[in-house]
């Protein structure tokens, strides 16, 4: 039963996401609604869970499952309400300028079935998932819920997970970066295209971050993660502020690590690790290059859209001044077509960005985490070697002590040696453990990467298909007009 319940956990979110979309009021911020609709355009009967995240960030925060009264407004957390607030009841304020993005699990709004809201007809194609959630289900108090979380909470979660798991070889997904400029704009209450885009970008980045985190079988079981997902109040994560002392300390530590890395010379006995490290280095370079190209493409497409719009206006003017009526009409039609095409370009640019560019950015950051894990392995090895060397020294010292007549010192040395031997053994075990973990993690990472890319690429191509189909429609409508010029 837990087995099936496991499918419910995530399918539920998925389904309720789909149904919630139909209920989205017009007062919802258009950008967000559009995003929701687009991700769910394939309908609820989809088995892929990768692209639909269970955590829709803009729903009302509730804890109880409420089957009767679905509320779908976005709530602001504490703080002064932003300057622009659509007219809504005072408790629920919808705004894309939410200062703090929320992580919210949608309450189930089951329209299809009458009674049992847990009777979902979605098949999860990935058996792994089901298996992994088997045990986790019992850890959740309820099956679906929504909580409010601030951006700093996400960062806090990440730092906790990183401190717990990175050094033993688990690839912890990195959290989205802080952006002081973007955040300030939003805080100031500036309502313009760029701050809307910023909020949307952040929202989708947080979505992806959480999805990656919970997809990791070990991380999902972590109590911090569970607490994050479940509890209504989280202690405020102070140490994640960008310019705090903790932040500075982190930066100093990072620098120290970098220096250390250069000094460690590891005798790599396992060719697999060397090969993989090289592979990830290359991958990093390639992905960064690809990312830059895609960003440039997004930029140029936006430019193209602007220029097309301008041309459309100009063509309309030309059509106006043309005194041959049929030609004039055709030119105006051309202007209209170009205007529609400009909108297409704009949409395409958005698709380029949200699908491709952001994914690449995520992977560039993920690779840093992967490299970090390899570095930790090196550090573990170093520790092991250090304790081994120390043991050696102590043994030599003990041997020397044998010839002196200091029984208590000898005993002390023997104790120390025993302790060190234990340490060395532990060090070796740690090293083996981290190596094993890394192997598993890397293979998991690679599989995920391929899957991710494939999914995104398919989605992207589908968006391109749509664009082409639209283009065909527009030009087919225009052709007779052009031919009608006598």
């Amino acid at each position: 039963m837990t087995h099936t319940a496991g499918t419910f956990l995530f399918s539920l979110f998925f389904l309720c996401l789909a149904s919630s979309v139909e209920y989205v009021e017009s007062s919802q911020p258009a950008s967000l609604a559009a995003e929701d609709i687009s991700t769910n355009s394939n309908g609820p009967k989809q088995d892929s869970l990768f692209d639909d995240d269970p955590e829709d960030l803009f729903a009302e925060a509730t804890e109880e499952v409420s089957l009767d009264s679905p509320e779908r407004d976005v709530l602001l957390s504490d703080g002064p309400s932003p300057a622009i607030t659509p007219i809504t009841p005072p408790t629920s304020v919808i705004t894309p300028l939410a200062k703090y993005t929320k992580c919210i699990f949608f309450p189930v709004i089951e329209e299809e079935e009458g009674g049992d809201s847990f009777d979902i007809h979605i098949s999860v194609s990935d058996p792994e998932k089901v298996g992994e959630y088997m045990t986790s289900i019992s850890l959740f108090k309820r099956n679906e819920f929504a909580v409010k979380r601030r951006f700093s909470d996400f960062l806090g979660l990440h730092s906790k997970l990183a401190s717990k798991y990175l050094h033993i070889g688990y690839i912890v997904p990195p959290a989205p970066e802080k952006s002081i400029v973007g955040m300030t704009k939003v805080k100031v209450g500036k309502e313009d295209q760029s701050s809307n885009e910023f909020v949307e970008k952040r929202r989708s980045a947080l979505e992806r971050y959480l999805m990656r985190t919970v997809k990791h079988p070990i991380l999902l079981k972590d109590p911090d993660v569970l607490q994050f997902l479940e509890s209504s109040e989280l202690p405020r994560a102070v140490s994640t502020q960008a310019l705090s002392s903790a932040g500075l300390l982190r930066m100093v530590n990072k620098a120290a690590d970098a220096v250390n890395k250069m000094t460690i010379k590891m005798n790599e006995s396992d060719a697999w690790f060397e090969e993989k490290q090289q592979h990830f280095e290359n991958l990093d370079v390639q992905l960064r290059k690809l990312h830059t190209s895609v960003e440039s493409l997004v930029c140029h497409r936006k430019e193209l859209s602007v220029n097309t719009a301008q041309f459309a206006k100009s063509a309309a003017m030309l059509g106006n001044s043309e005194d041959h009526t049929a030609l004039s009409r055709a030119l105006s039609q051309l202007a209209e077509v170009e205007e529609k095409i400009d909108q297409l370009h704009q949409d395409q640019a958005n698709a380029d960005f949200y699908l491709f560019s952001e994914l690449l950015g995520d992977y560039v950051r993920l690779l840093t985490a992967v490299k970090g894990v390899f570095d930790h392995r090196m550090k573990t090895w170093q520790k092991w070697q250090d304790s081994q060397m120390l043991l050696q020294k102590k043994r030599e010292a003990e041997a020397k002590l044998q010839f002196t007549n200091k029984p208590d010192k000898l005993q002390q040395a023997k104790d120390e040696i025993k302790e060190l031997e234990g340490k060395v053994q532990q060090g070796e075990r740690d090293f083996e453990q981290i190596s094993k973990t890394i192997r598993k993690e890397v293979s998991r990472f690679e599989k995920e990467r391929v899957k991710d890319f494939k999914t995104i690429i398919i989605k992207y191509l589908e968006s391109l298909v749509q664009t082409q189909q639209q283009l065909i429609k527009y030009w087919e409508a225009f052709l007779p007009e052009a031919k009608a010029i006598s």
């Binding site: 190209s293 193209l304 030609l327 082409q468 087919e476 052009a482």
Partner: protein
């Protein structure tokens, strides 16, 4: 009797016309077809382009029926300027001169590519080189087409085709020794243009009695400005399109490298490869769309920018002649009042009158022809543009759907 030299010339030419017209009754239609000019070949050298102008003609004034000469851009400009400066052709729209062949941008890019050869992979390099070569070729074809259009327009014009300079241009198989204008001459030209535009403003203020010309004046002015604007905007749009296409090319080569690196996992490799194919094709298609838009839309607009300028010039010349005529009238009245130099004033007035009427007559027909030509050209190009866009979109669609099929089926 002492005929005024001008008048006697006219009578002579009239006589010539009459004799010719007797012959030309049956030959005229054939002469229309029997002056075919085209550019059969072109060679691009370091800093100039050599066009091979090929003529087929049954006109009696040519020594052979078919012949070719090699001409350079300066010689085309010389021909154009000789038309403009010829008073006889004041009443016609002079076909606009072809723009100078400009390979600088393309050459610069090729050079940059050569310098940056070390920094990119072999595949990238060959791909980019191919791209740039294709661009160079496209520019080259365009400039050849522009020059050819100019010659064809001249050959099709009933009066201009008989121009002596034109025949020399077509036939004289040695260098015309037309040097480009030196600095002094260019400066003179510049001043001439300034004076002309100032004069144009003055003259434009003169209200025309003829409704047709008044309408044409206002129409052409507005039209010319709008075509200029549309031409500039279309250029920008196409440039952005080309930039996006370049990005897609870079992405394609990155994906290819990524795919080949990952050769350990065959499935990944295939996926990357098919993706790379998609990207390269998309790139080709996007680049081709940009090139087609370029040809159909931008070139059309640019050409009509120049033509509408030529039409404006015609109207200017007519207005100038009108002003001269009116001034001559006034001078005549003054002379009659003072009873001095009356004969001189009379003759100059008659000259002006004659000139003005001649221009007006031919101008009307020219402007009507201009409109017909314009409408036909726009129609042709717009239809072709729409058809090409459709073809590309459909091709794209097929390609994408094929790729999606491969990717989805390949789990």
């Amino acid at each position: 009797m002492s005929l005024e030299p001008g008048l006697s010339q006219q009578t002579i030419s009239v006589v010539q016309e009459q004799t010719k017209s007797k012959k030309s009754f049956n030959v005229d239609l054939q002469t229309d077809a029997m002056l075919q000019v085209d550019i059969s070949d072109a060679l691009s050298e370091r800093d100039k382009v050599k066009f091979t102008v090929h003529t087929k003609s049954t006109l009696p004034n040519f020594k052979q029926n078919e012949f070719s000469v090699v001409r350079q851009h300066e010689e085309f400009i010389w021909l154009h300027d000789s038309f403009v400066e010829n008073e006889e052709y004041a009443g016609y729209i002079i076909p606009p001169a072809p723009p100078r062949p400009d390979f600088d941008a393309s050459r610069e890019k090729l050079q940059k590519l050569g310098e940056g050869e070390g920094s990119m992979t072999k595949e990238e390099f060959t791909k980019m080189k191919q791209e740039l070569e294709a661009e160079y070729l496209a520019i080259f074809k365009k400039t050849v087409a522009m020059h050819e259009v100019f010659l064809c327009r001249v050959a099709a014009h009933p009066v201009l085709r008989k121009d002596l300079n034109f025949h020399v241009f077509l036939e004289y198989n040695q260098d015309l020794s037309v040097r480009g204008k030196n600095k002094k001459e260019k400066l003179e030209d510049f001043f001439k243009n300034v004076v002309k535009s100032a004069d144009g403003v003055l003259v434009a203020g003169v209200k025309d009695v003829d409704d047709f010309f008044e309408h044409e004046k206002t129409f052409l002015l507005e039209y010319h400005n709008r075509v200029k604007d549309a031409s500039a905007k279309s250029d920008r749009m196409i440039r952005s399109h080309k930039n996006a296409a370049d990005d897609i090319n870079r992405i394609a080569s990155s994906l290819y490298t990524l795919g080949t690196q990952d050769s350990t996992d065959l499935c990944k490799y295939e996926q990357m490869l098919s993706l790379n194919l998609t990207w390269s094709c998309l790139h080709k298609i996007e680049a081709r769309i940009a090139a087609d838009e370029d040809l159909k839309l931008a070139d059309l607009l640019k050409y009509y920018l120049r033509e509408s300028q030529a039409a404006k010039d015609l109207l200017y010349r007519r207005s100038r002649a009108l002003v001269d005529y009116e001034n001559a009238n006034k001078a005549l009245d003054k002379a009659r009042a003072k009873n001095r130099d009356v004969l001189q004033a009379e003759t100059s007035q008659q000259l002006c009158c004659h000139k003005f009427e001649k221009i007006s007559e031919s101008a009307k027909q020219e402007l009507i022809d201009f409109k017909t030509r314009r409408v036909a050209a726009f129609r042709k190009n717009l239809v072709e543009l729409a058809e090409l866009e459709l073809k590309h979109a459909k091709g794209n669609l097929q390609l994408l759907q094929g790729c999606l099929g491969i990717l989805k089926g390949n789990t």
